[in-house]
Symmetry: C2
DNA sequence: CATATATGTCAACATGGCTGACGTAAACCT
DNA sequence: AGGTTTACGTCAGCCATGTTGACATATATG
C-alpha cells in the first residue's frame, strides 16, 4: 500500500465487505458441486480429498493431512469410503515404504473432473467479468490471508504441472 | 474482459489456483475466531448468527434464514443457545407483529466485536500488503461468484451504515 | 372469515469434525 | 544390532451443525 493512502481504506466497512464476500463467494462456488456430491452419497470432505489427490498424484497420506488440517481419524473415514467405492487407490512408497501414496482410479479421476467442472463454471464467469487485473488482485489478497509459513505448502500445489 | 485477452487466462491452472486460494484464504481468515469461539463453547454457526445480527440490528428471523441458507430448525438451535447465554434478544416486530426482530445484547455486541477483531487483523494485513487496486479486484471477482439474483441481499448488508 | 405467512417446536437422523488409546511396519540413530 | 521415532491404521465414543417431516400458534391479508 502506498504511503499516504486513504486511512478510510481500512475502515470497518471495507473489512466487513471482504469478510462477507469471502463467505458468500466460497459458499456459492461450492454449491453446484455439493448437489452432485449429494446425489452420489458423498460430501464436501470427500471432494476435498479427491481434489487434492487429483492435484498431486502420489501424495503420501501425511501430506494430505497437513493440507486438510484434520485428524488422521477423520481423513481415514473419508479415504476408506473413497477406496471402498473405487475412487482412490494406495501404493506403497518407493523411497519410504512406510508411506502410502494416494492416487485416483480412472473412476475417481472422472468424478473429480466432473466436480471440478461444477466449480470451474462459476470461477470462469467471475474471472471473465472481472478481468485479468482484478483476478490478480484477488489472488494477492487471498494469499495475504494465508500465514506466510503455510504458503509454501499451497504454492507447491501450483508448481510445475 | 477485453476482447482478445489471452486465452491462457482461463486455463485450468488459473481456475485451480483460485479455488485453492479461496479455500485456504477463508479457512485461515476464520481460524482465529474459531479458537475464541471454542473457548466459550460456541461454534462457527453461532458466530455467523452473531455476525449478521450485529450487521443488521432488528433483522427478522426470516431474513437471517435467507442469508444463512439453513433450515429454521438449525437456526433455532443456535439462536436458542445465544439467547440462553444472553447474547441475543428478540422483540416483536412493529410493522408486522408476527416477526421477531433480532438484536444483540450488550454482552453479545461485546463478543461480536471481539470476534470481528480476530478476522479484522488478518484482513487488514492482507489488504494492506495487497494495495487498494488489488482489494478492488478481490471484491469484483468474489461478487462475480455470487449469482446475480442473490447479490441484492448481500449488498443490502453493506448499504447505509 | 378463510387462508397464507412468520415463527417455534418435537423427533429422528447424517455428516464430518474431535479425543484417547493402541497396534504394526519401516526407517533412523548410535 | 537394538532402541527410538515415524507413517499409517483402527476401535470407540463424543460433539457441532446440518437435514427432513410433522405439527402448533399468532398475526396478517384478501
Amino acid at each position: 500500500m502506498p504511503v499516504g493512502a486513504s486511512p478510510l481504506f481500512l475502515r470497518e466497512a471495507e473489512i466487513r465487505r471482504g469478510i462477507e464476500l469471502l463467505y458468500f463467494g466460497y459458499t456459492n462456488m461450492v454449491k453446484g458441486a455439493d448437489v452432485r456430491l449429494a446425489e452420489l452419497g458423498f460430501g464436501r470432505a470427500h471432494h476435498r480429498a479427491l481434489y487434492f489427490i487429483a492435484r498431486r498424484p502420489d501424495m503420501p497420506v501425511g501430506d494430505l493431512l497437513d493440507l486438510l488440517n484434520i485428524t488422521k481419524q477423520s481423513l481415514s473415514r473419508v479415504l476408506g469410503e473413497l477406496q471402498a467405492r473405487g475412487m482412490v487407490a494406495q501404493t506403497v512408497g518407493t523411497r519410504d515404504r512406510r508411506q502410502r501414496m494416494l492416487r485416483l482410479t480412472p473412476a475417481g479421476a472422472t468424478l473429480e473432473t466432473e466436480l471440478f467442472e461444477c466449480l470451474r463454471d462459476g470461477v470462469t464467469r467471475a474471472y471473465g467479468h472481472a478481468g485479468q487485473a482484478a483476478v490478480s488482485g484477488f489472488w494477492t489478497v487471498l494469499t495475504g490471508l494465508i500465514p506466510p509459513g503455510d504458503r509454501p505448502l499451497i504454492e507447491a500445489l501450483q508448481a510445475a504441472e
